[in-house]
Symmetry: C3
Subunit: 305 residues, 3 copies
């Protein structure tokens, strides 16, 4: 494994190895001293063209906990503002000899594009446009392994802004690799074009999709999208149609696990009592996110065996 | 000591222990090699919702000098901008398993509020609204211990925007715990409501308050507050009435110590020759600030004995 | 060597020692484990009043690779915004006992100014106004040493916005110290006043300056300067007159080395095929930049022998 662009490149045994390694890092991160020398002498650059405190912090803690040197660069202060191209920024940073470049960028496919020009640098996709967000999906898989014993044969019902979600896209790919089913629930305006070609169940009726769901995966809905382009007169109306509340969770059953990639809009896609309820594994996702990134960084730096 | 919310929770022996520990860190910070392994394997997150280079840098150096992993998060890039609640931000970060969360926030009491929900994370208040700023006051106490031999029985005359000052509030509490007197000097508009209940001397006449002052503690005055809401036609007029100049310092006496929590408005609350003069301990405060934060972090991480 | 303000203070043997030390750090930065304990226990503050991802990241990686504690401060979040003077910011940071303060600021001479007041802190000029940028020039010298065997007796033809360039100014000084020739090529409006006193060749005709050039050093041209104050109706016209393209590079000869301090405006001062061509050493400059900064930091912290 030289890069991590997306779930599309990962085969099942690789995913299993990453999750097993991540499990050991969950354990490390609960010890009184949370530090291992695994990545000592390695340099990791977090290059974030979009703000994401959560993801950047998760990668930063992952790197530091393994003794790597971690450098953060945010778009707001980058040379991009002075008109430098993405490729020049990438080549410049690669010339400083980091081992890993973690990239969050608005353009789908930018990581593969850069990798062609940066032969000596491992690249991790921390979210590229509406394309992929593999470390989030690995995090979800780890969380479901802990709470459902695995995902094979399970049904994950994903609700919300599927169209703009890189998490959704990465899950659509991983579902095939790992043998789980995705059921998509969204209004037409928030579904991707040609959604049929993914070959999964699609519905506009959330209530009808609840029975048989092992996981309810609620996606963040950007409020500006709701009220401007799309057909919802108000946030409240969206919550009525597509928000997860106690009534719906009860219909899904008491074994159903609730996930959300965060940050949450409480009262929009998820009710507060569900977000904080006993079936929510949302904070486990966050904890596992650090461990998964530790596993990814370790593997890309040649460790992990 | 599980958290540091404010001076209100600290008893005198705890304060004395923190100051003694901080003294040893002053010494460490003057060595050629300024590093101890005390907090190795500990993760500290600086979560600043308000900008404060000085305080953030002080905590960051404190943590790094003790070998902790330090992660900085500023409001400008945080998920708060995407509508995430303070509690969700706190819970998300806590799920990443930091040992300590250092918080600067505009809302008074936010640290206690968060602590109720984050049972495994130690919280340090780095300034919450106009409520408390305990590490600043501990810094001041250490500085006065070095230069006056201690604060018991001393009189600290505090001048300026008492109403909006968390430093003032924390000193009002610490004065009772540690047995020193506070004399407050400010125009009516910059005094807190019901100032009488603090039981300390209050005056609008700076000149009359000088005699008997062991310490002149000048507070930063925000110029927008001076000229908009309050009764001063100009900065110059404020300086005439409430600024510390050489004449006033001479009236206070040559043993009187000058403090300021920074950043200073030279020519407003303090004249340049006084700020840089031989009675000023303002830069000692900055140096001691790092040592005090090292002591606080160490204590919260279970060390310090 | 107590500070690094500019090339003006460096004698030839000092420069040679820095370059030799930097060579060893180039080698270190190519090892699988890029880490040495050289600066363990040292604190370095990067204080950047102007954005420069490239330079800040280079210093940050340099410090971390040598095990120093590195703290970044950007103007956007600094107390300067609250009206604090540069001197107060400097004194405050110095009181926190860093070993080195790396400063990027818009005011020429600000490093020397600060150094007079901060007796215990080593200061590195990372670019001060249009004055000096010594670590960039040391980087260039290292690059030319690798690719030309040294600079003595060579001719560097520098093209573009000489007037506003601290890199140009530092090279004008270093040329005398190190015995190389500078040939300046620019329109009148982008030449410094009294350019004659530097005693080097000056021309407005790029084509005429190509023959005999060992190095073509292309400077970044800020597009707002081109089209507002200066006589170019368009970026394209500037490129015609002063851009480096394949035709011109062929005229200079196949041994001629192309340099650029970055970030590049492709299609303005340099054509893309030249920037990426076999004679370009632009990415070597970036790599060497980290090594040079490692050498400077080491020397200022008392190591390097």
């Amino acid at each position: 494994m030289k890069h991590l662009f997306g779930m599309a490149e990962l085969e099942r045994p690789q995913i299993e190895r990453l999750l097993a390694l991540a499990e050991s890092f969950v354990e490390l991160s609960r010890r009184p001293l949370r530090k291992a020398p695994t990545l000592r002498g390695k340099t990791i650059i977090n290059l974030f063209f979009e703000n994401s405190t959560r993801t950047r912090t998760s990668f930063e803690i992952a790197g530091k906990r393994l003794s790597a040197d971690v450098i953060n660069i945010s778009a707001a202060t980058s040379a991009t503002k002075k008109g430098e191209s993405l490729l020049d920024t990438g080549q410049t940073l690669a010339a400083m000899q980091p081992h890993v470049l973690v990239i969050r960028h608005g353009i789908a496919g930018c990581c593969q594009f850069l990798a062609d020009y940066l032969p000596q640098t491992a690249i991790v996709n921390a979210g590229d446009g509406a394309h992929e967000h593999p470390t989030q999906v690995l995090t979800d898989l780890l969380t479901l392994r802990q709470h459902l014993g695995g995902v094979a044969g399970k049904t994950i019902t994903m609700v919300g802004d599927i169209a703009h979600s890189r998490v959704a896209r990465s899950h659509l790919i991983a579902a095939n690799t790992m043998g789980y089913r995705l059921r998509l629930v969204a209004p037409k305006t928030l579904l991707p074009r040609e959604v049929e070609r993914y070959g999964c169940e699609v519905t506009h009726d959330f209530d009808a999709a609840l029975a048989g769901s092992d996981v309810l995966y609620m996606l963040r809905v950007q409020q500006e999208r709701l009220t401007s382009n799309f057909a919802f007169p108000s946030v409240r109306e969206y919550h009525e149609a597509y928000g997860l509340n106690r009534r719906r969770l009860a219909m899904a059953g008491s074994d159903c696990v609730v996930l959300h990639p965060g940050p949450m809009n409480r009262g929009v896609e998820i009710a507060t009592d569900v977000a904080d309820g006993s079936q929510s594994r949302i904070l486990d996702q966050v904890e596992n996110g650090v461990a998964v990134r530790m596993a990814v960084l370790t593997t890309l730096c040649g460790g992990g065996d």
